[in-house]
Symmetry: C2
Subunit: 404 residues, 2 copies
């Protein structure tokens, strides 16, 4: 009789957003007349931009003609897209990344979830607390997390790096040296950033200790302030210790189109093995490329018109971020984030924990957000709102919150 993967059985309940959906659906079913405003999950609401739509239609037409039809894509992604990424996201920012260090994929979530697989099962993993659940869950599935400590709400083989008000939601270098360090800046869920000097400390720490940093930069397009790094490769020595994960979901609204990429510099080796080759092997064996038409859509994001439209979309969402920040402050909440990121992190009112505040907001204001504790124990007493709604709905949600 075959055994199932017993690590899967250790996983905690259901995925955070499934639990939220369940509560919202139950409330909706009982109160069909209530108009619910969703500022919970990080899904975009603006349509794809004209340049992207144009590129999609053109690529679809190519697929209709035998002479321009495209079958299997190259393993790493089409060159036209990898060239555009290398130039715009790296070379133009002074980062020496070449197209063949870029692996095109169907999204940063998949890459975040799969990348751990190229490392040993004994790797010690460090994550921020609070943290995007995928980092931890995929390491639980791989057997690296140990056992869950019910009292602490933590896995006993994971190194947690608390991100709290006291450290400005930027973690300190851990005392116990991890093998694998997940960092995400601008951060999901707190919306916090770190400076280039702070990130350089992480790179130096990783290089000194032989750790590998998995740098999730899915939200870099939202950076509005100087001295906030857009890529970890802006730091010296990062090519020897860091993998960067990027997404088209939040900058260009590709959540329903699926496109992302991972950068693994060829210099990055551990135990004499180039990680680039390991990921290439995984990519080639377990994955079959992002759709041609979607890769053409990605290319269009880097056209002159595409860039202008993307900027506009981001400005649209960041106007929401300001509405939320200003509204919450006016209502007396303690808030952070929302300046270089589409996420606003707020302290729940005295006497209410994260899920209690979730229920209060859902039932009294009919607004859906995300309980901070869903991202880890240090998120308890916090709550995440996202700027991805529509202007009118976001403004109305804030009015309702002010009137609570």
């Amino acid at each position: 009789m075959i055994n199932v993967n017993e690590n899967y059985l250790k996983l905690r309940g259901s995925y955070l957003f499934s639990e939220i959906a369940k509560r919202v659906n139950a409330y909706s079913a009982a109160n069909p007349d209530k108009k619910i405003i969703r500022l919970g999950i990080g899904d975009v609401t603006q349509p794809l931009s004209p340049s992207v739509i144009k590129a999609l239609h053109a690529a679809v037409d190519e697929m209709a003609d035998a002479s321009t039809f495209r079958g299997y894509a190259p393993d790493l992604g089409y060159e036209f897209l990898r060239n555009a990424i290398a130039k715009n996201d790296y070379v133009d920012r002074g980062c020496d990344i070449s197209p063949d260090e870029i692996f095109v994929s169907d999204g940063a979530k998949c890459d975040c979830g799969n990348i751990q697989e190229i490392f040993g099962s004994d790797a010690k993993v460090a994550v921020c607390d609070p943290v995007y659940p995928v980092y931890v869950d995929t390491n639980v599935m791989a057997g690296r997390a140990g056992d869950f400590d019910e009292a602490l709400g933590l896995w006993n083989r994971i190194i947690y790096m608390p991100c709290t008000k006291d450290n400005g939601f930027a973690p300190a270098l851990p005392a116990e040296v991890p093998d694998l360090i997940y960092l995400c800046f601008p951060n999901n869920p707190t919306g916090a950033t770190i400076t280039k000097a702070q990130l350089q400390e992480w790179v130096d720490y990783a290089n000194k200790n032989g750790s590998v940093i998995l740098y999730d930069a899915a939200y870099e397009a939202y950076i509005s302030e100087e001295d906030v790094p857009h890529s970890i490769y802006e730091c010296e020595g990062a090519k020897e210790c860091a993998i960067e994960l990027r997404s088209f979901s939040k900058n260009a609204g590709f959540t329903g189109l699926r496109l992302g990429f991972t950068v693994i510099p060829k210099e990055l080796k551990r135990g004499g093995t180039a990680l680039h080759g390991l990921w290439a092997r995984r990519h080639g064996t377990k994955y079959n490329g992002a759709p041609y038409i979607v890769q053409r859509a990605g290319e269009a994001v880097y056209s002159e018109s595409g860039k202008a439209e993307t900027k506009e979309q981001i400005a649209y969402y960041m106007k929401n971020a300001k509405t939320i920040l200003d509204g919450l402050k006016a209502a007396g909440y303690e808030v952070s984030g929302g300046v270089n990121a589409p996420y606003i992190w707020l302290k729940t009112p005295e006497g209410l924990n994260s899920w209690e505040f979730f229920d209060e907001l859902l039932t009294k204001a009919n607004v859906v957000g995300t309980p901070g504790v869903g991202f880890g124990p240090s998120g308890e007493g916090y709550f995440r709102l996202t700027a991805f709604g529509q202007h009118e709905a976001t403004a109305e949600a804030l009015e309702r919150i002010k009137n609570l």
Copy 2:
């Protein structure tokens, strides 16, 4: 210092098709005037059908408008597609599969590669020999394959089930009971099929022993004869022991569009755990859905016009299969497959092994095929040609082969 996944280091050379590409590129570079005809990799050449193109354009337009824009897809796939699959591929064939037992994905290769992850790392795996390399490689990566025996050309923890001329390229039930059994019919690479009665034996064997069958039915649309099962769920008891993997790549030409699905019946449990729930967890944690526009394209395959067009495409390729079969027979080759599958399996001429024949065909006829040994040691002395080329090119390739 972090360790890499040492199982990856055990992997053999590069992926079969990379090696083929390398040899073909080297030959092309040295002989730029030669017109090479590719009947090697299983990629389609016919454009997407009008119904699919129409559905893609319509869905792209929906993505351009905020009121019809779609972000993240539901974890299991859109209901419109799962309903169409359940009805057309299962219920209409008398198989009791419901939409919520279907998981939409970006292709059968990814599913084939990832599905092993829900099982224990000690699972004993059985594969046909020859076999689609992804089944074995992904189990090597997971540490289930043991060590590679250079002399035998086999992994010492994998149970190989030889498919030879003597058994009609259909494997016998293995003496040592496996935990996980990969079966693919119509078969890649041999093009062989098994009857419903034969498949029922496998189902009974799995149920008796607690094994799980991973049934790859990517080529079911090519079945032309009676008594060849289109789905394993045509067999009694299959819902208690079998997972089925399906693809839109070969029936509707989606190799560059990426769409597939996996069926896990809710009854299928091992050690008291429903495999459906495990795969749902993996899907929800490490994957983020196939693009909305591609799922709409998949839906169009099941429309009346889509079905007719798909049938025409398959007829187009099967005309090639006949050209290849007839041509090879006329040239005195021993051949099989090509009747219920787009693959033709031929015995290499006396004195030439698979790779020698590959080189001979490449350099003397400028035709690319796939060496049988690349699929496993029992494939030595065999060679695969595919029916996915264009009519004219396929006919010309056969003329060249006849004149060898």
